[in-house]
């Protein structure tokens, strides 16, 4: 029993210590003198590797998810003779939940792991140390542009997911299953509110992007400098980022549905 309490205490201390370190790490990354002339090209470079290179997986997933939602929705709605509402069902499911959550999970798997592995490998091969010895702060040169790129990419990728998924749903619903195109689009337009549905989805994606990128860069920066360390850090990024996304989604949805 005593050992159990001791272990619990140790876990609590370690957890608090890590939260503190990651908080200071984030603060030091974000709060610094702006150097726009040098930072902008670094940000563009990272927007490409984090955002643009994630486009294919996001768009393909969105297409298939839109098509599946449409197919499932049509089968259910048809039982009640309400297949004309397919557009609304599809748009609400995608914009409110599926786009931000699936984009976040895919983003953690594609961009999050790449960030952790890249930064971790830089740590293992002394690149971060050598940068520091050249009097170049790695938090500014390496971490900050990656963090901002992740934060900017997530809502943009979510918007692209929205559009592609709705198009995928349209292809299945209208072109294949024969739902009337006019009612598909008009029901969607009347049933979706920009602020409550679209904007809330984007807010979710910004918050997910913040936490996923924070977890990914933190795990990479503080990885043990060896092969096992990098592999563990990469796994932790996916696990923690996915769990954080799902938990945050529940909290944000419950707050948003109560009309904040």
């Amino acid at each position: 029993m005593l050992t159990y309490i001791q272990q619990l205490g140790r876990f609590g201390l370690t957890f608090s210590q890590r939260v503190g370190i990651s908080g200071i790490f984030l603060f030091n990354t974000l709060v610094r003198k702006p150097r726009p002339r040098q930072s902008f090209p670094l940000l563009i470079e990272q927007l490409y590797s984090i955002g643009v290179l994630s486009l294919i997986i996001i768009m393909l997933s969105a297409l298939f998810i839109g098509m599946v939602v449409s197919l499932q929705g049509y089968n259910t709605l048809q039982r009640f003779g309400a297949e004309q509402e397919l557009g609304q069902l599809l748009a609400l499911s995608v914009v409110r939940e599926l786009a931000p959550v699936i984009t976040a999970l895919l983003f953690a798997g594609r961009a999050g792991t790449a960030l952790t592995a890249e930064i971790g490998l830089m740590r293992a091969t002394d690149q971060l140390d050598s940068m520091e010895l050249m009097a170049v702060d790695p938090l500014w040169r390496i971490i900050s542009p990656r963090f901002w790129a992740g934060l900017i990419s997530m809502p943009v990728l979510t918007l692209i997911f929205d559009m592609v998924a709705i198009y995928g749903g349209y292809l299945v619903g209208v072109k294949w299953l024969g739902v009337d195109a006019g009612s598909f689009w008009s029901n969607m337009q009347s049933g979706v509110d920009f602020r409550i549905d679209v904007l809330n989805g984007i807010i979710k994606s910004v918050i997910f992007g913040f936490f996923i990128t924070w977890i990914a860069v933190y795990q990479g920066y503080f990885t043990a400098p060896n092969a096992i360390g990098i592999s563990r850090a990469t796994t932790k990024t996916v696990v923690y980022a996915s769990l954080a996304t799902l938990a945050l989604d529940f909290i944000l949805t419950s707050v948003m549905l109560k009309g904040w």
């Binding site: 091969t125 002394d126 050598s130 010895l133 050249m134 009097a135 170049v136």
Partner: protein, 271 residues
Amino acid sequence: MTADSNATSDNFVEIRNMTFKRDSRVIFNNISLNIERGKITAIMGPSGSGKTTLLRLITGQLKPNSGKILIEGVNINALNRSKLYILRRKMSMLFQSGALFTHLDVFENVAFPLREHTRLPEDMLRDIVLMKLEAVGLRGAKDLMASELSGGMARRVAMARALALDPKLMLYDEPFTGQDPITMGVLVKLIKQLNDALGLTSVIVSHDVQETASIADYVYVISGGNIIGEGTPQALFADKSPAVNQFIHGLPDGVVPFHYPAKNYAEELLC
């Protein structure tokens, strides 16, 4: 940045009564040493004796538990981050791995510190980078990616990059480890030439006794957290103390035992 009043101008680095621990393990136990300006000082010792840790203490990446580390009379541990970064521009370190940036080619690796710290026009920057690469004999490799270089070439490029901002102090972490005899000869010659031609102060951390001793002006031998011997290479080769003698002549058994501490051999086989 105020200079310590006791600092002597002949020493670029002074370590005074420094103790460093990792958790409860003592890595350095109240050691003192001087790195003389313009000279090549070697820090030698068996693997795991804390040689690389000593370099990290000199660069301010680690802080000692007690004692002082003075760089040109300035206590490096009393500096805040921005002052530490200013002081670090005077020093460069060559990592064992080279630590080249893998996403950049050779030219951009050498140009990196110049781009970060200067506002030189592109043509002038190009000339400086080519001059640094010429000094290490790798001007022809400027377009290769870091991943395309052999271990020896990577270290020479890292050397060119370390020299880019004309440092006063060069720190070499195991520069000869894992190199073929030709590359080793090239590196030995380069370290000596660069030190003399550019008026640098160099510190070589190594356990390659012959190569290091051939160019070092002064040698410290560290083991078990203490300095067990010091002097010119000739003096150390003549040193008869068991620990120094075993290390310098590479004897397999002696003060540093061949066997890792274990239970009695016969007992373990029979149980």
